[in-house]
Amino acid sequence: MTWLSLAIGLIIALPVIAYVARPLFTPARLLYATDDSRLGDLLARKDTVLSNIKEIEFDHQTGKLNTEDYAQYNQRLRGQALSLLKRIDQIAPGAGDLDTQLEAAIAARRKVAAAPVSDAAAATAASVTEIAGTDDATTKQATEAGGAKEVVMQRSASFCHHCGAPVEPGDRFCRACGTRLREE
């Protein structure tokens, strides 16, 4: 190894070292605020729940889930989605308009049995199903299935704020996870 090649090596090494070390000499910053990751996790869980909703819808359509099981799981998952959205909204109000829309749509759908479907609510429901990655096909089916499901939905209008399981009026603790329920 000659002195020349050592010198050249040094000439290569210096800018590399400067490049790698440069961020250390800029003003110190924090990588993320603590809440940030909680939000990310909630968003990820929300996505999972939504894709689970889509998955069981599809399983039902292709004959793997019978109607009772499907209705039960569907209700549970939608409850979870709603509660996740509420928590996301608490941490970061307006964390993406889509979520707000979704919340509106799910709420609208649950109210359908009580009030006649307004055109606007139906339109939102459709748009939201798209957001959730559900095909227009399932939307149509859901709307067609209509009455019966919404009646089921209406019976337990509130959900556990922790796990999203449906809650009967008068319950003080969640039947699924045992969390003390908030007064609503």
């Binding site: 190894m1 090494a13 490049y19 790698v20 250390l24 990310g40 292709t62 889930l65 606007a120």
Partner: protein, 661 residues
């Protein structure tokens, strides 16, 4: 002098990768954006330096710089340009450099993809990728020396190992390495999520894609390796349970198990510890595989080079095994399951069974691979476990796995009711029973091939049924025509339907393996010119021999005509061939003569020749074509599963809708 600079580049990369590892872990711990940014820069810098070193070695190979020991050992003037290029991964030092280069490539891809996302995980991910690079750079700098030079410049090199002078051998290692190296990425994310304690669903979703990509390359690499063995080694087969083949197969098994069980974690929040263990095992098996290939600890035709890298590998293995186990135990409380198994008749139970089978097979293969070493350590005698042992042990497990592959997708999540079970299983089961009966009565009374092929048919039937039902459901809802419906199904639900295509590929491979395992017909004959041999209803006639000098070898080519119908109809004239290399005359390579039919391969190997006669091994290998078709389907299916979901339409909510419930 340029080669001195090559060495220096590796030394600088070594230092930078170590520095990057430290700032990565430290930055992740202290949540310092500055340290994290520095770890990103380290990833890019290491990649640049390693690329520059690889370019210098490539220059040495292409410009015939024989004063470089590596070039002298693995190249020669007459070597075709293409193989000079591929000689980079033809030997120990070069292939370790290539490994490091690919790892840097993956690291940069990951860093660029997530440079603004996953802030909590990325410093740890960078650090884990860099520590792996660091290890390989330690090997390159302290042990294998790719840029070692002689005092003088020899006139010509030794030539590349003749076995590697084949286009499959150029592409096969790239694929295999892309697979192996890429499996570091899911491991890095697993470590990052453990270290950062961010063990939610987040890392799982990222890792699925970053496991599928290397998994696809690894699958393709294994299949291409088999193709190479089949076409070039000339012993009639494609898989010998050679230690190096096993080394590539082991991480494939655990990675496949991981790809399945991670779905349960994503959907149900279960099996979190198990998934961590699988991703870590996969990484350990990759390093172990490189170790066995590179250290020559297990005697094998593939261990071309042997050197002193063994202790380094052993040290690194011990480090990753113990530090990960410690980390996992430390974080155990954070890895509780979110739900429990509802029923045995659920898809998650089927996935679990599949996982046990994959792990069982992996354990058996691992045991068989290392048995010679253990026996030598304990008894002082090297006792090898041969192919029949592997077939006997893994065969029944694979059969069960195939059955599960048929059953699993038909079950629903959580629980499947009795009437749904009936609905799902009636047709596939009836069809399979009918097939088994017909096969038993008309084709063959052997139990295992009958069971195996029946299982293959069962899986195929379930896949067809799944597609049919999916298409029908879509059509019922959207009124699309069948083609659009199928297309949309795969487009919008690629994870599932891409998976089915992969399963179909595996089924084809299974059928081909069964055909080759149980129904091969073979004969060895010496034929005078014009003489014929009969096998399996075909007639093989020897017409003569030619010799031709190419760049660096002589090609001896025999001409054999294959006739069907007792010699009445000429199918094809094939030319099995032997290449004798100028630099390695005692290592002739084989090039088989092959005529491929959908039902079987007619496969002729030239073994030797004299003045007017030649010796051949002739094989009739049933269904072999489907092995390669299956490989293509695996890649295709994985691509479908990887393809991004079509952009979701977002219709803005009309004004006036109450936002809050």
């Amino acid at each position: 002098m340029i080669f001195h600079i090559g060495s220096l580049l590796l030394v600088i990369a070594l230092v930078v990768s170590f520095f990057g590892t430290v700032v990565g872990y430290w930055g992740g711990r202290t949540r310092s954006a500055n340290l994290a940014a520095s770890s990103f820069h380290a990833v890019y810098a290491v990649a640049g330096l390693v690329l520059a070193a690889a370019v210098i070695l490539w220059y040495g190979l292409l410009a015939d710089q024989f004063q470089l020991a590596y070039v002298w050992n693995h190249s020669e003037r007459a070597l075709p340009l293409f193989y000079k290029f591929s000689a980079l991964w033809g030997g120990q030092a070069g292939s370790l450099l290539f490994w490091t280069l690919l790892l840097s490539g993956y690291s940069v891809a990951v860093a660029l993809t997530f440079r603004t996302r996953q802030a909590a995980l990325m410093p740890f991910v960078n650090a884990t990728l860099l520590i792996t690079s660091f290890f390989f750079l330690v090997l390159l700098v302290f042990s294998v020396h790719p840029f070692e030079q002689y005092e003088f410049r020899p006139a010509d090199g030794q030539g590349l190992n003749p076995l590697l002078q084949n286009y499959w051998m150029v592409i096969h290692p790239i694929m295999l390495y892309m697979g192996w190296v890429g499996l570091t990425v899911p491991f890095a994310f697993a470590v990052a999520s453990l270290l950062s304690k961010k063990l939610g669903n987040n890392w799982v979703r990222i890792v699925r894609r970053w496991t599928l990509i290397p998994w696809m390359f690894l699958s393709a690499g294994i299949i291409m390796g088999s193709q190479w063995a089949y076409m070039e080694l000339g012993w009639g087969g494609y898989w010998a349970w050679d230690p190096v083949e096993n080394a590539s197969f082991l991480p494939w098994l655990t990675a496949t198990a991981f790809l399945h069980s991670i779905i349960i974690q994503e959907r149900r929040g279960m099996l979190k510890v198990w998934n961590m263990v699988l991703v870590w095992l996969t990484y350990v098996l990759v390093i172990l595989g490189t170790f066995t290939t590179r250290s020559g600890i297990l005697e094998s035709v593939h261990s071309f080079a042997q050197s002193d890298v063994g202790p380094y590998f052993l040290g690194f293995l011990i480090l990753i095994i113990f530090s990960f186990i410690w980390l996992l135990f430390d974080r155990m409380p954070l890895l509780r399951s979110e739900s429990a198994m509802d029923s045995v008749l659920s898809r998650e139970a089927a996935f679990l069974a599949n996982n046990w089978l994959f792990t069982g097979i992996a354990f058996a293969v691992l045991w068989g691979t290392f048995f010679p070493m253990f026996s030598e350590i304990i008894t002082g005698q090297r006792i090898s476990v041969a192919a029949p042992w592997f077939n006997k042990v893994t065969g029944p497990l694979f059969l069960l796995l195939f059955v599960m592959m048929g059953i699993g997708p038909l079950l629903g999540w959580r629980r499947t009711s009795a009437n749904k079970l009936r609905e799902q299983f009636t047709w596939p089961l009836l069809l399979s029973l009918l097939f088994a009966l017909v096969y038993w009565l008309l084709v063959s009374k052997q139990f295992y091939p009958m069971m195996g092929l029946t299982a293959c048919l069962f899986v195929t039937a379930t896949i067809v049924q799944e597609f049919l039902r999916g298409v029908l459901a879509r059509r019922a809802a959207t009124g699309e025509n069948p083609f659009t419906a199928t297309w949309q199904l795969m487009r919008r639900n690629g994870q599932r339907y891409g998976g089915y295509i992969v399963h179909l590929g595996i089924v084809l491979i299974g059928a081909a393996v069964i055909g080759n395992q149980f129904y091969v017909q073979t004969t060895n004959v010496t034929l005078a010119q014009g003489e014929s041999a009969d096998l399996a209803g075909y007639r093989f006639t020897y017409n003569g021999l030619s010799a031709e000098h190419q760049d660096n070898r002589v090609e001896y080519r025999a001409y054999v005509s294959i006739f069907a119908d007792d010699g009445a109809r000429l199918l094809r004239t094939v030319s099995p061939q032997r290449n004798v290399y100028d630099k390695n005359p005692d290592m002739p390579t084989s090039e088989v003569g092959i005529y491929v039919l959908p039902s079987e391969d007619l496969y002729v190997v030239l073994n030797g020749w004299s003045e007017n006669s030649a010796t051949f091994s002739i094989f009739v290998n049933p269904l072999t074509l489907w092995l390669w078709v299956g490989g293509v389907l695996i890649v295709l299916g994985t691509l479908i599963a990887l393809w991004p979901h079509p952009r979701r339409k977002t219709v803005p909510a009309p004004a006036g809708v109450p936002v809050r419930a």
